[in-house]
Each structure stands twice: as structure tokens, then as C-alpha cells.
Symmetry: C2
Subunit: 588 residues, 2 copies
């Protein structure tokens, strides 16, 4: 390296005029005029204009041969640009470098796509040439933000005496919920490690070990079929505390979020954040992570349809189902096509459809209005608070939860369509009092909504053997503008209670012992009350960066089929290597 | 939780006298006197004495039933201890808590070993009950130190504009050197991911992406047969920079080390650290990571034995081997047994033995002295600077490197035996100018000493096809008191040079393309000059904490056979799960 940089491209200002500098970077673009040859040189910190004068012919010709994305260093002196040449779009726009020497480090072929903010190359091409894609400002900025948020997170938790402790990646397979990634053991043929789905049991063990306050920013792994915005490996901020109840964990998190929002978004928010029970959240918003930046709440109108002529509704009423309505005051002018769209939307979510009525000048019109008797109409006017005009959307279902969920999604869609959402505000709240269990038709047993280590409320313990479905968990989710930012719970710290919860989940004592024996045993040697929380870090960064996809905030993401397109992973392996591991591939 | 802690056990002082407090923790021990019952309560922050007066009989009896390691909370008031009861061994020794209420969170069975600093339970038992072992102060302190060093590291590098970027764990298998851990792909049967041995190629790709300064504290994996102080998963501080040469990387690292040593050890050191070539290091110390806190340097005395009667030495001289000596001025009184020990020591390292002579009052005596002619004796007196008395240890070998290595180990052992090492000083230096390649007899080809992406020195490029063994690499190792703290290099950033290095390593273009095609291709789209370094984090913490083993600075280490004794990993897996992965276990 002949020319070693003295300054970054992005840092040069008027104050540098007259200085001799060396800058290094990528040729962003160039312009040829009758006179000098111009290159915009780019590094991570910005762009600076280089000027090659034709008076130095050798240098001028050398510069003219450069193509986009080649890597060079240039020495020269900083000059002020003439007034008419000032570029106010870039921070270095008042100056330029009069080039005196040029070192070419690496010549670039023509890249498969342009390196700018607006490129529309296919995502597969972008992923294959990730080193080019990452040169684009939005991705670069997102990864720099990610690093900043990680440091801010660590600074906050360290400052509050949390110890960052690394938990193992080669762990025991305890399939519960999602599928594990397995790692064959070479030293113990026929045995496998699992990559951790979360450090849950380890962080609880750290509480038994007396660490009191633990955190970690850590990779976790789930071998699931990838949906939009899921990755086989993902990052979470993992937190656990001893001698705490829900309020302690929540208030620590609130302190963190207040600091984060101030530093990253410049947003002034303050705790404590409101708390809403799961029940209220479902009743009012049809979601356990509602966007509370707008109203459009659900109304339960089941009671009004006990003796309706409209059979569908009467049947739902009779079967103790649920009929719920959304009132879009702003949407009475919705066209048939717009309403069809809404109908298609709920059908895509698995519903049979959404019923509607328009209300105007005291009268119902369209949709199911013709099936409504006077009693139902009067009931709706009163209970839905109908005054002027409105579009009423109704979903009826034997499962109240299913109906509310549908209305919740419909509510979000309507709010988007009607532009009810104020992007400049930040609503944060906690959802609490989750049901501990839910019945899985597939498994024919209760499964844990959060995970099997979540503590039931003290007052609900007696219901474990009698009415487990009605037990509320000491769990809490943090919701930001309709997104789940974090979820956690107070854990069980007594062996007997943990065993009873396993029983309720139909996990036998033998199975519990084989999977979680070490945890159960640890409860017998002095386990403190403890609880914690985990943040989905990728998603959090995506939201903070306002990125379109989680893949835009991960340096090297996998595709939806879990393939690394750049390095081509997974890949075939030598038979010899598998033999050493004591495994073989099943021929299909 | 009825009693919520207001203070930590370790924080109470005289200033708190009179305050009502609640503390929580583990029963460390107890004492029963005629009068009150005493409990020492322990948390992460220290120990406080609780006093249960017999006047509150119910509380007194409840307390008396507690056993060691049970977890409780106690409310009460802080009192000053009587002068004669002050315990100056603990920071809270001037006060105690007069207990008024007691909540028992969890009763402990008798632990399998005592929770104190001096327990001598077997390591297997300690690992099985890791949550108990981690309650011991040395382990707790080591993990807290580890967290502090991690934060300090991140603070240093972030402050200097390094971006922390997470590289993938599910990567491509590119066996080169160590064995990969493999992860079967469920979606692509017969294909495997590999856990990364290091983020080497990814961090280079990040340089192509323009990130300029990258760091990460990251887990890496090697499926090697575990030696002492090796773990299948280990942590490294990984650093890479663009537009730099060796001095830039070294000076950043020096800044980091100066800060680290000041903060953690309270040691004032300053950069730049001395640099020593590999050749000089081997010649003087018989090691590329010598402990330079003491002398005891090697002397090459080969030239003195061209015509000796002593056949062994003459033969080595004739075969252009190496005869080297260590002079231990302090050890002329070594007994036969002590010398035997040294001999056994070098034999355990694979040598045939070490020759010795004693020198006293101008005369040689003992060992091989009887085979020495006057010429050799005179040569040694002059070249070894023998004056008073000394023990001379000599190793001769046809391979100079082998002989020097043996002398290097012997030098360390002698220094320990003779207590030549001043533990209070910190010697830091760089080893530079490593040979790029070494010939592997096993593989019958040259292998990279560092890794195949290390750049040769510019002036040595032309030797790639002619005398690769003489090429020096742009590599550097940081050595602290005889330990390798970090190692790195300037990398290749040109496709053609990388291909020539692969050729020298006997890696065919096809193989290179299939393993590292993406890296080679990235060199063609604008690759900046770049280089970096990696620190073995576990080892660094072990040295900073003066821990006996690397396992004492890892929360959940594996045994030498890669087993997790606490959670019992690896473990058997359901056939169904393997079938989903398209693999089966080979029956043996």
C-alpha cells in the first residue's frame, strides 16, 4: 500500500480546505467533461468528489480507465468548490479533492446490479452477491444501527449489574414445540447435540447459581418451515432476574426501552407503560398485540341475536359462539369492490367471509341488512353507537377466539386502508394475564402458551388438576405499535409445582426427568424466585430501522428454504466425514 | 413473594444502621449459641449476618430449621455489631440484621459438596452440579470479570467506529485444517451445514461490503480431540479492518490492550509493543510465543562440534542439524535427581533426552563432559560466556526447529523450577515475519501456517512457485508473558494471488472454486486491502482471572470427551427425528 488514507471520504468539510489528504474507497460514479475527469469516491462514511485535471496526463488517463466499484486510494489537496458547483445533497458537497496521485487496489468487473438505494435486482441475486448488496446505504445503515442498538443494550444492562454470560450452543435436544437442529457427535456415535432454541433452561440454572441478573444477546435456532420474516437462526436479547416479580422485570425493561427510544429514535416516552389483560386485549382489539394507535375497537353484539331470523347468527348465538362488529365511521362510502376486498382478505385468513351493513341517515342498507329485524337493528344502533354514517363489519363464529382474531386482523387492514395510523407516535403497552395453557387438537393435550416453565398465578395453582384451561400465567408481552417486541414470565422455582405443570401438559415424570431432570434437580438445592424476558432482536432492529424485511437487517440471511445463496450452504459432504460421525444419508 | 428485597446482602454498612431492610439470598452457614441463632446470608454481592432472637419464638424456631443453601428473604433492622463481634474479614462485618420476618422460598437438600472457595470435589461432580459450583466465589468472580472484559472490548472497538456484525452459524463446510461440526439439513436431504470454525471468510466478505472496521465476540466450533484447555465451542474476539497494513492493526490492538490492562489489572503499560521476528524468537527462545520476563536464552553451539570425538554431536553437525545450549547460572548444584527430572521432561515431549554438563571453577564436570575435548570446552566457555558456575543443558537434533522447540520448553520449565519469573510484570510483544507455509509430512504437501487467506510479503510473491518454504507471511501474533493472546494477518485481496497461494497449497482450482468460490469472486468486484486479528477469549479471561483452567471461566463447559455432564448432552434422538433429516445412524 503506497497511499495510506488520512481521512474518510465522508468527513471532509470546508475546514479541510488546503490540507493534503489521502482517501480510499470505491468508485461510486464518474463524469467526463471537456476539462477535468470527476470521480465520486465512496466509503462507509460518505462520498467525496475527486477531480483529475488533464494537465497531469498520465494520472488523468489512469483515472479515466477506472470503472464503477473499483477500489482506489487518492492523494491530493482539498479545495473549496465554486459556488455554482456546490452539491447540497451530500455532506461533503462544498469541497472536492484535486487529485495528485492514484493507487489502484482492485479493479471491479461490472457488478450484476447497480449499487444505489433504489436497485430492484431480485432478492436472490442480491443475496448471492451480498457483498455488493451490503454496499447499499439502507443495508449498511441498518447493520450499523444494529451494532449501535446492541452496544446500547449491553450498556444499559451492564450498568444495572446484569452479567452477560455465554450459554452453550452444543446442548441437549429437548423437543418441545419447535424442531431442533441436530449436530451428530463424532465421539459418541448415535448421539446428537441440539442447537439451542433459546437459552431458557441455562438462564434459569444461572439463577440457581446465584447470578441474580443475567443477560445475553444470543443466537437461537429453530428448524421450522420458514414463513415470511423467519430465519432458521435468529438473535434474541435474553434477560433473567432473581428475587423479582412481574413489576420488577417490566420496570427494568421500561427503563431500557425509554433509553433506546430516546437514543435511537429521538422519541421521548416514559414508563410505566399501560398494562392490559389478555382478555381485555382480545375483547377490544381481537389481538394480544394490538396496535393501540387507533380506535376501531371490536363490539360484542352476540346478545342482540338470540332470536334473529338470520339463521347463521342465531345458530352462533345458540352455540354460545361470538358475534362481533367493527364500525368504520369513515367507510360508509366503501364500494362493492372495496368490500369484496375485505371479504377476500378474511377468507385468506381462513374465515368463511365477513358480513357487512351500511348505516346512513338512521337506516341500514346493503349486505346482511335485509336479514335484520327491527330488534336487531335497534340493538346495533344502540350498542354500536351508530349516529351519522358508518360501515359495519360483522364476523360470527362458534369459536369466540377465532372470531376475535379475524376481527383483529380486519381492524388492522381497515386502519391501513383508511390511513388511521399516525406513524409519528409510539404506543407501548404490556399484555398480561395470559391463559397458561391452550388445548392442542393436533396433540390431543394441553400445551403451554409461553413455555412449560412459566409460573401460574399463585391464586390459580389449585386449578391445575381441575380446570387448567382457566389458569392465568404470570406472563407478559411488550407490545409496540401492534408488534410484539418482547415476551417473558415469572418462572416456576419449586420442583413439585413444575411437576404438576408437566402433568397438566401430559408430560410423564419419566419424560420430564429425561428431558429436564437437571432443572428439576436444581430446584432442590436452593432455587430463588426468578423471571425474565426475551426480545426478538432481528425484528426489533427491523422496526427501528423501518426496514421492509427482517433479511435487510441481517448481514447474511438465508432464503425461505434455508439456503445461503452466497456461500452455497447447505452442501454435500464427503462420505468419509459422515462415516466418522457414525451416520449415513438415507437413499431416497 | 411476600418480602421483596430492598438491599443486597453485600452492600450493608454502618451507614445503614437503623434502617429497615429486606435481604434475600442463600443460607451460607449458621451458628447456634446459648442465645440468638445466627445465619450468614449470601448473595452475589456478599454476605450479611442475620440474628434471630429467641424472644420471637416462632421466628426463631423457623430459622433454626433452615439448612445450608436454602433460599430465604428476611426483613429486619440493621444494627451495629458490638466491637468484639466485628468481623473484619467481610465488608459487612460491622453490621448485622436483627430479623423480624422470614420468608422461605426454597429448601435445599444437603449439597453434594460444600460451597466454598476450597472445595475439592471432583471436576465431574462439579460439572454435573454446575449451578452449585458456580456459587463459589472464584467461578462467580471469573464470569463477572468475563462479562466486564466483553463490555470493555465492545466499548473500545465501538468507540473506534468498529461495527459489530453477526456472522452466520449455519455455514458451508470447508474442511481446511480442523474438523467441522455438521448440521444435517431437513429441507435438503443429504446436505449439511457446518458450524463455523471462525468467521474468517465472512469477515473478509464484510470488508468487500465496505464495512471498513468490523468486530464481533463470537462462538466458534472445532470438532477436534480435546486436549487440556480445549473446548469444542470457544469464543473469540474477531476483528477486521480495511485499507490497513500490519502496523495499523497492531496499533489498534495495542490501544485495546493498554486500556484492558489498566481497567482490569490496574497495570500501566504502553505501546507500541516490541516486535520480534519468528526467526529471532525461535533462535533466542525456542518458541514463537516466548515468555520474555526472564533471560535463559538459547545459544547455538553447533559450530563448535565439527570435529568432536562425541559422535552424536558430530553426526548432528555433519547433517546440518542444530546443537543448542541453555545455561542456568543458578543451577550448578542441581542433583542427579533434578537432572533426571529434566531429562524425563524432554523425553515426555518426544526427545531422546537432554545432555548436561556442570561448570565450576573453570572446569566441566559430570554428564557429557567426559566426551568433550579441550577445543569443545574452550568453545563452550567462550560462546556460552561461562565464568563462575553453571548448569549447561544441551540438545542436539537433525531438525533445528525440533531442537529449538525442545529447548524452548525446557527453558520455561527451568524458569519455573528456579523461580525466575516475576509474576508482577507484564511483557507484551509481537511475533512477526512467520513463514507462510510449512510442509506437512502427513499430507505430503505444504499447508498454511496461519490460514490460506494470509498474504505473503510483497517482496516474497515471486517465490510462490519456486521456493514457497522461504516465503514470509504478513502475519503477527501478540504474546503476553509466554502466551499467545491473539493472532492475525494482512489478507490477500487479489484473485490471482489467492489462486497462486491455493496452488502452492496443492488446492486445485476446482476445489478452490467449490469451497471458496464466493470469496474468489468477491475479489473481482472491488476488494479493498484488508487485515485483521482474532483473540482467544476464553484463554484471555483465564489468564486475566489467573484461573487454573479454561473450564473455570466458561459457564457450562464440556468434558474432555465433549460431554455436558449437567444436562447430559449429547443424547440419543428419536429415529423419527433422524428420518425427517434424511439420515440414519450406522449400526456398529
Amino acid at each position: 500500500m503506497k497511499l495510506k488514507r488520512t481521512h474518510r471520504c465522508g468527513e471532509l468539510r470546508k475546514a479541510h480546505v488546503g490540507e493534503k489528504v489521502v482517501v480510499s474507497g470505491w468508485v461510486n460514479n464518474w463524469r467526463e467533461h471537456a476539462g477535468p475527469f470527476f470521480i465520486d469516491l465512496r466509503d462507509r462514511y460518505g462520498v467525496i468528489q475527486l477531480v483529475f485535471s488533464p494537465t497531469d496526463e498520465a494520472l488523468y488517463e489512469k483515472a479515466r480507465k477506472l470503472r464503477a466499484e473499483s477500489v482506489i486510494a487518492v492523494s491530493g489537496s482539498v479545495r473549496a468548490r465554486a459556488d455554482e458547483a456546490i452539491n447540497s445533497n451530500i455532506e461533503t458537497g462544498e469541497v472536492e479533492i484535486h487529485a495528485e496521485d492514484l493507487e489502484v487496489f482492485n479493479i471491479s468487473k461490472t457488478p450484476p446490479f447497480e449499487i444505489n438505494e433504489f436497485n430492484n435486482a431480485s432478492e436472490d441475486v442480491r443475496l448471492k452477491y451480498r457483498y455488493l448488496d451490503l454496499r447499499r446505504k439502507p443495508l449498511r445503515d441498518a447493520l450499523i444501527l444494529r451494532s449501535q442498538v446492541a452496544q446500547l443494550t449491553r450498556s444499559y444492562f451492564s450498568r444495572h449489574d446484569f452479567v452477560e454470560i455465554e450459554t452453550p450452543f452444543l446442548t441437549k435436544s429437548t423437543p418441545e414445540g419447535a424442531r431442533d437442529f441436530l449436530v451428530p457427535s463424532r465421539l459418541h456415535h448415535g448421539q446428537f447435540y441440539a442447537l439451542p432454541q433459546s437459552p431458557q433452561t441455562y438462564k434459569q440454572i444461572l439463577m440457581m447459581a446465584g447470578f441474580d441478573r443475567y443477560f445475553q444477546i444470543v443466537k437461537c435456532f429453530r428448524d421450522e418451515d420458514l414463513r415470511k420474516d423467519r430465519q432458521p437462526e435468529f438473535t434474541q436479547i435474553d434477560v433473567e432476574m432473581s428475587f423479582v416479580d412481574e413489576t420488577d422485570v417490566m420496570s427494568f425493561v421500561e427503563g431500557f426501552i425509554v433509553e433506546l427510544f430516546k437514543e435511537v429514535l429521538g422519541a421521548e416516552i416514559s414508563g410505566p407503560f399501560p398494562r392490559m389483560t389478555y382478555q381485555e386485549s382480545m375483547d377490544r382489539f381481537g389481538s394480544d398485540k394490538p396496535d393501540t394507535r387507533f380506535g376501531l375497537e371490536l363490539t360484542d353484539i352476540t346478545a342482540g341475536f338470540g332470536s334473529t331470523e338470520f339463521k347463521v347468527f342465531r345458530s352462533v348465538h345458540g352455540k354460545k359462539g361470538y358475534i362481533g362488529a367493527l364500525v368504520a365511521q369513515e367507510a360508509s362510502g366503501y364500494s362493492r369492490k372495496q368490500i369484496d376486498n375485505l371479504n377476500q382478505f378474511v377468507i385468506s385468513l381462513g374465515a368463511k367471509g365477513v358480513a357487512h351493513l351500511k348505516f346512513k341517515d338512521g337506516e341500514f342498507d346493503g349486505g346482511i341488512s335485509k336479514f335484520m329485524g327491527d330488534a336487531e337493528k335497534a340493538y346495533m344502533i344502540e350498542n354500536l353507537g351508530l349516529k351519522e354514517e358508518a360501515l359495519v363489519l360483522v364476523i360470527a363464529n362458534e369459536s369466540a377466539e377465532a372470531a376475535k382474531n379475524l376481527l383483529g386482523h380486519l381492524r388492522n387492514k381497515l386502519a391501513e386502508d383508511l390511513e388511521l395510523i399516525d406513524d409519528s407516535v409510539n404506543h407501548l403497552h404490556w399484555t398480561i394475564d395470559f391463559p397458561m395453557l391452550e388445548y392442542s387438537e393436533e396433540d390431543q393435550r394441553y400445551v403451554a402458551r409461553h413455555h412449560p416453565f412459566t409460573s401460574p398465578r399463585d391464586e390459580d395453582r389449585d386449578m391445575l388438576e381441575t380446570e387448567p384451561e382457566n389458569i392465568l400465567a404470570r406472563a407478559y408481552d411488550l407490545v409496540w405499535n401492534g408488534n410484539e417486541l418482547a415476551g417473558g414470565s415469572i418462572r416456576i422455582h419449586e420442583r413439585e409445582l413444575q411437576q404438576r405443570v408437566f402433568n397438566a401438559l401430559n408430560i410423564s415424570p419419566e419424560e420430564a426427568q429425561s428431558k429436564f431432570g437437571f432443572l428439576l434437580e436444581s430446584f432442590e438445592y436452593g432455587a430463588p424466585p426468578h423471571g425474565g424476558i426475551a426480545f426478538g432482536f432481528d425484528r426489533m432492529i427491523m422496526l427501528l430501522a423501518r426496514a421492509a424485511s427482517i433479511r435487510d437487517v441481517i448481514a447474511f440471511p438465508k432464503t425461505a428454504s434455508a439456503v445461503g445463496l452466497m456461500e452455497k450452504s447447505p452442501s454435500l459432504t464427503a462420505d468419509e466425514q459422515l462415516k466418522e460421525l457414525g451416520i449415513t444419508v438415507i437413499k431416497s
